[in-house]
């Protein structure tokens, strides 16, 4: 009998939202013949109820105090025990700080592969088949596994969580396994929240090499300030010294997903797209109507930004 193990994670003592999305994905796989859904969580058995109401058939709680550090090396033996106990041949984790470390450590320890950051999952001929983005979103790859268990991390917000159903029932059991902690956690801190962080800004206005002039960022800052947003830049613009690297959006910079992303003179290479493709609405201002950024945007102006941006600032002031 195959089965699916969801490795849940916690935030401030409660089940983190990604875990409910994983259960949503697991239920879909279960309906395709994937077998029953077991959830593993490091923490007290009392966390089991929330996992069951969101779709787990049963829960295994890893109750060793050592698991609290959250490092992959202490978690691997506990998750391995849960895989053995549940008989799961599919293991799902979130593509989070937690899953990015635990997924590969678990897979290599079990001499199997892990597919990272999957956006689609299905059971095909009794085996898992996944789709994931690669080459900065330029391509998609589909994978299967040579060995078992088939371990995958799932991109957040790729699957919907099920509504909690208090009528669902299932058992929760405890295991005490934990690995040796060679890596010691000395402290954890939340990111500072003074000012509008690029990552949290509801609106981001970014400029690229196509601006042709570092002074143009003053104009972009005026626009983002008017919209109570933040100003970003492409790697090319940062490399030219036009804007601070701390404000770089992209693969090697910040990842943002604002409600509105205004890309000024940015062509849309994968380096940049990797950092902002999750934006709800994109506006491109670009001289080149064939630029990738224009294609992926909701609205685009194909014209010289030097004329468009000041006019847009005036129009937005009028609307205010």
């Amino acid at each position: 009998m195959p089965g699916i193990l969801v490795v849940a994670e916690t935030a401030d003592g409660a089940i983190a939202p990604i875990s409910f999305e994983l259960l949503g994905a697991a239920r879909q796989l279960s309906a395709q013949g994937g077998g029953s859904v077991t959830a593993f969580v490091a923490g007290p058995e009392s966390l089991g109820a929330a996992l069951i109401s969101h779709g787990a058939d049963s829960v295994i709680a890893g109750t060793s105090a050592a698991l609290a550090s959250g490092t992959a090396e202490v978690l691997v033996p506990a998750v391995t025990a849960a895989i053995t106990q549940s008989g799961a041949d599919v293991v799902l984790l979130g593509q989070t700080s937690f899953g990015r470390d635990l997924g590969p450590a678990l897979a290599f320890s079990l001499k199997t592969a892990v597919a990272m950051d999957c956006v689609e999952l299905k059971i095909d001929g009794g085996r898992l088949r996944v789709t994931r983005g690669c080459y900065g979103g330029n391509a998609r790859a589909e994978h299967t596994w040579k060995a078992s268990p088939q371990v995958a991390t799932v991109k957040p917000k790729s699957f919907d969580a099920l509504e909690a159903d208090a009528g669902r029932s299932g058992s929760t059991s405890a295991i005490a396994d934990a690995g040796e902690a060679r890596v010691k956690v000395l402290g954890t801190s939340k990111a500072e929240t003074t000012g509008v962080r690029l990552e949290d800004a509801p609106v981001v206005v970014s400029g690229g090499r196509g601006l042709g002039d570092p002074g143009a960022f003053k104009m972009l800052e005026e626009l983002s300030g008017l919209l109570k947003g933040a100003t970003g830049a492409s790697r090319a613009a940062c490399d030219l010294g036009w804007y601070p690297p701390s404000q770089q959006v992209g693969l090697t910079g910040k990842t943002v997903s604002p409600g509105l992303y205004i890309a000024v003179a940015i062509s849309g290479a994968s380096q940049h797209m990797a950092g902002m493709a999750g934006s709800k609405a994109i506006v491109a201002i670009n001289k080149d109507g064939d630029a990738n950024m224009v294609k992926v945007s909701k609205f685009a102006i194909v014209d010289d930004y030097k004329k468009v941006v000041p006019a847009l600032i005036e129009e937005i002031k009028k609307l205010a």
Binding site: T96, C134, Y135, R140, A141, K146, R182, T188, A269, V308
Partner: protein, 267 residues
């Protein structure tokens, strides 16, 4: 310290999307005409970390390893020009199309052949496949602790103190040496090789090791032995729903855009 840095050569992530093509039958990316491959953008940070640690420590050796085509020698040369001491290129026809897991096995074997090490540094992931599994894999295979996504690394006697980047903050950990640390872009700007260093780097040794040289069996390499078989690779069809804002002048276009944004409640 004896530090090993692993680097990878990848297609330039600044390649315009219009030049990005895939051979779906071969399940391979077709190199873009006239755009040279580059060092994975996270890897110079790993090299930088190695150089800074040894500078603070008053000496040591940095060995750079890359698995790839003959052209990957350029990725090694870049690290040597930054100041690394020696290079090893793992190059074998059987490496064509292998996956991240087989790569980790090959790197672990190559590191064992290099010999003693105190620290292994890598970029946090490679920007082509973007899996980020190789540091964990090499750690598991060599039995050494792994610390991922470092923004700062400090040596403290027989251990390293590492500041890590988390989704919503930072974490400080301590790991005993030898260890593996993957380095993130938050580490800071890597040094830019100067002409004199580039010329010096040309004289540094880059050894070439085959699969047999590192004791990699035929069943461990080759695309047919992937742990994660690649069933399909394609460029997703982007359904462009863009509305090009028209107008007789830039000013009129701006006015029309402002009104559209307001109507869509985006501003």
């Amino acid at each position: 310290m004896n530090i090993i840095v692993c680097v990878k050569q990848i297609p330039d992530p600044e390649t315009p999307s219009s030049s990005f093509k895939v051979d779906e039958a071969a399940k391979k990316v077709i190199p873009a005409q006239g755009i040279a491959p580059v060092v994975n953008p996270f890897d110079p940070q790993a090299t930088e970390a190695a150089l800074r640690l040894n500078e603070a420590d008053g000496g040591g050796k940095v060995t750079v390893i890359s698995l790839g085509a003959e052209s990957a020698r350029d990725a090694i040369k870049h690290a040597l020009a930054m100041g690394a001491d020696e290079g090893v290129l793992l190059n074998d026809p059987s490496f064509d199309g292998i996956d991240n897991f087989q790569t980790a096995v090959a790197l672990a074997k190559a590191i064992q052949k290099v010999g003693e090490f105190d620290l292994i540094l890598m970029g946090r992931s490679a920007a082509d496949w973007d899996m980020g599994v190789v540091p964990s894999g090499v750690g598991q295979l060599l039995g050494v602790p792994v610390v991922s996504v470092a923004k700062a690394i400090e040596k403290n006697g027989g251990s390293v103190k590492v500041e890590r980047v988390l989704d919503d903050g930072f974490q400080t950990v301590e790991a005993p040496l030898p260890a593996i640390v993957s380095v993130s872009n938050e580490f800071g700007e890597p040094r830019y090789p100067q002409l004199r260093q580039i010329m010096l780097a040309a004289k540094k040794t880059v050894q070439i090791w085959s699969a047999a040289d590192i004791g990699l069996g035929a069943e461990e390499t080759g695309a047919a032995n992937r742990w994660l078989p690649l069933e399909a690779l394609y460029v997703p069809k982007v359904e462009s729903n863009v509305e090009i804002i028209e107008g007789d002048s830039p000013e009129e276009k701006a006015r029309n855009l402002a009104q559209k944004l307001r109507a869509a409640k985006l501003i």
